[in-house]
């Protein structure tokens, strides 16, 4: 009975695993095969060549190197800003006495319900009014506002877990609250900050609708809006599509391979937001 159960478990897992890996496998080998070979024999990993990748790196409609630069600039700046401002507000939420911190947290949590499409139309006007419409700084500050609720929520749990005695000791020694925060609390939050940075990096790198609308067309493209605008012209050239897919996703796949447990943990932490 038990042996049969083990067998059934592995049979289910193996077939589900193969089914889930199949699209990735097709994309991966597809990026190294000519298109006629992809449709003719999608599963055979031959003949392989770098032609499609080379072509994708040098296509007239999608400058991947430039898109990488844009995406890196936006992701790195937005994540850095978010880590700083969200840890500050999370610190206050997690530490300050009275009802206001809890009220502020609820006010922020409301923002988690709001899909980007609900606010994007007026945000165009807010950014226009600030003179930041169709600019990188505009998209970056918007990203900061949108991810504050999630970031502050995750971090405030970690703040609450730091024993307050450490900070009180420093306070007694005459250090002001900001000094205590930067010198004592922030270093203690490091593991949480790394987790959060991983999560935000994935979200912002993969983001599509916000850069699509807020950067507009022709004002620089991120990897996602770039692949979207270019693939329309290529859609029957499957090896090009797969090469583009691979190039656009490579940084996140590398991140996942390097920090698999942390990435999974980050999503789990982010999910508690319900």
């Amino acid at each position: 009975m038990r042996r049969w159960g083990t067998f059934a478990r592995h049979a289910v897992l193996l077939s589900a695993g193969l089914l889930f890996t199949l699209p990735l496998y097709i994309a991966l080998i597809g990026a190294f095969k000519p298109t006629d070979q992809i449709v003719g024999s999608p599963l055979r990993p031959s003949p392989l060549s770098l032609d499609a990748i080379r072509k994708a790196l040098d296509q007239p409609t999608f400058d991947i190197a430039a898109a990488y630069r844009t995406s890196i600039l936006i992701t790195v700046t937005a994540v850095a800003l978010l880590l700083i401002v969200s840890s500050m507000i999370a610190y206050w939420i997690g530490r300050a006495p009275g009802r206001w911190p809890r009220r502020l947290e609820l006010f922020l949590l409301l923002g988690l319900m709001v899909p980007p499409q609900v606010i994007l139309l007026p945000v165009l006007h807010v950014l226009d009014w600030l003179g930041l419409l169709f600019t990188y700084p505009g998209l970056i500050v918007y990203d900061v506002g949108v991810y504050i609720p999630l970031a502050a929520f995750i971090l405030s749990r970690f703040v609450a877990a730091i024993p307050p005695e450490l900070e009180e000791a420093a306070g007694v020694d005459g250090a002001g609250p900001l000094r205590v925060f930067f010198r004592i609390s922030l270093p203690l939050l490091r593991p949480a900050l790394i987790t959060l940075a991983v999560l935000l990096t994935i979200f912002i790198w993969n983001d599509f609708v916000n850069p699509l609308i807020l950067l507009g067309s022709g004002r620089g493209e991120t990897v996602t809006t770039g692949i979207y605008r270019s693939i329309g012209t290529y859609s029957t050239d499957y090896s090009s599509v797969f090469a583009n897919i691979l190039l656009v996703s490579a940084p996140m796949i590398v991140l996942y391979l390097l920090m698999q447990r942390r990435v999974i943990g980050a999503f789990a932490a982010g999910a508690v937001k319900g």
Binding site: G17, A96, G111, L121, V144, L178, M252, Y256
Partner: protein, 293 residues
């Protein structure tokens, strides 16, 4: 620290102001503006506009395209949530261990979520297009080609399939977290009493998963009410606009068709639906939870 924070009101301002400004400026006020503009006839660029109050909402009631998009959104959200809940609980129960093979499986099922929805959308679009890989594979086992993206029902199913493929591993992680809070002794006691794995699952595991089920169902439903990227990339809303969702219509009306105020109106409907779902389903499932317990 409580002490030092209270002593320095300036510090409070410094700690909270940057985050609060960004949030209020780019989330809270825009929500209010969306509601405000939905009561006007503004096209988004004219110097002036008039208040038409509920006129846009009346238009929406008679708008076949909007009503269809609303239905499609609910259909996708509901079917994806049901399938993901089954897949997520199934995988979590099978993978609630700590050995290496189990961890490798977890990593494989989780992987798709780190891809951009745009990327997985293009991947599946390429596979399911008429003379693409999917039909080539079906052909090799003797099945006639299916027009996945040319038929409204198949196109919707394809969108749901991408959704499930990309999110199953994440749902699995949600339920793994819940399973790990269930003491192992309970399962062992049930086994000692002679209960097989299925009875143990039905009478021990499932009732204890009820609270997680509540939270995760709401989470998934809210998440898929905003479904957008897969539609844009996999079907482009087609065939003949049959797979357009609410979020897709918002962008279409507000940005591409220059019906700014009407786009805002549909956005308000989307927001209200999400709020209602969050409240109603949370209430409903927590009642059932109490009954099971």
């Amino acid at each position: 620290m409580r002490l030092t924070l209270r002593k320095a009101p300036g510090a409070v301002l410094l700690l909270t102001a940057p985050a609060l400004l960004a949030y209020v400026g780019f989330v809270f006020i825009p929500v209010l503006l969306t509601i405000f503009y939905s009561l006007t006839d503004w096209d988004g660029f004219s110097p002036s506009y008039d208040f038409t109050w509920l006129e846009n909402y009346r238009t929406a009631l008679d708008d076949e395209v909007f009503r269809h998009a609303l239905w499609v959104t609910l259909e996708i959200a509901a079917s994806a949530t049901v399938l993901l809940t089954i897949a997520g609980i199934g995988l979590a129960v099978l993978l609630n261990r700590r050995d290496r093979i189990t961890r490798a499986y977890q990593a494989i099922f989780f992987l798709p979520i780190i891809l951009s929805p745009i990327v997985s959308g293009f991947l599946f679009q390429t596979v399911f297009t008429y003379d693409g890989i999917g039909n080539s594979l079906l052909g090799s086992v003797g099945i006639a080609p299916v027009d996945f993206l040319g038929d409204a029902h198949w196109a919707l199913a394809t969108i749901v399939v991408v959704t499930v493929w990309q999110t199953a591993g994440f749902t699995m992680v949600l339920y793994l977290a819940a399973l790990q809070t269930i003491p192992r002794e309970l399962n062992e006691a049930a086994a000692l009493d002679g209960a097989g794995p299925f009875r143990t699952f039905r009478h021990v595991t499932l009732p204890l998963l009820a609270p997680a089920l509540t939270v995760n169902t709401v989470l998934l439903l809210i998440f898929f009410m905003r479904i957008y990227e897969y539609v844009v990339v996999v079907t482009g809303g087609g065939p003949a606009g049959q797979t357009q969702t609410l979020a897709y219509r918002v962008v279409q009306e507000g940005v591409n068709d220059n019906r700014f105020a009407y786009g805002c109106t549909l956005a308000v409907v989307l927001l209200v639906l999400i709020a209602i779902l969050a409240l109603a389903i949370g209430r409903l499932l927590s009642l059932r939870e109490r009954r099971v317990a």
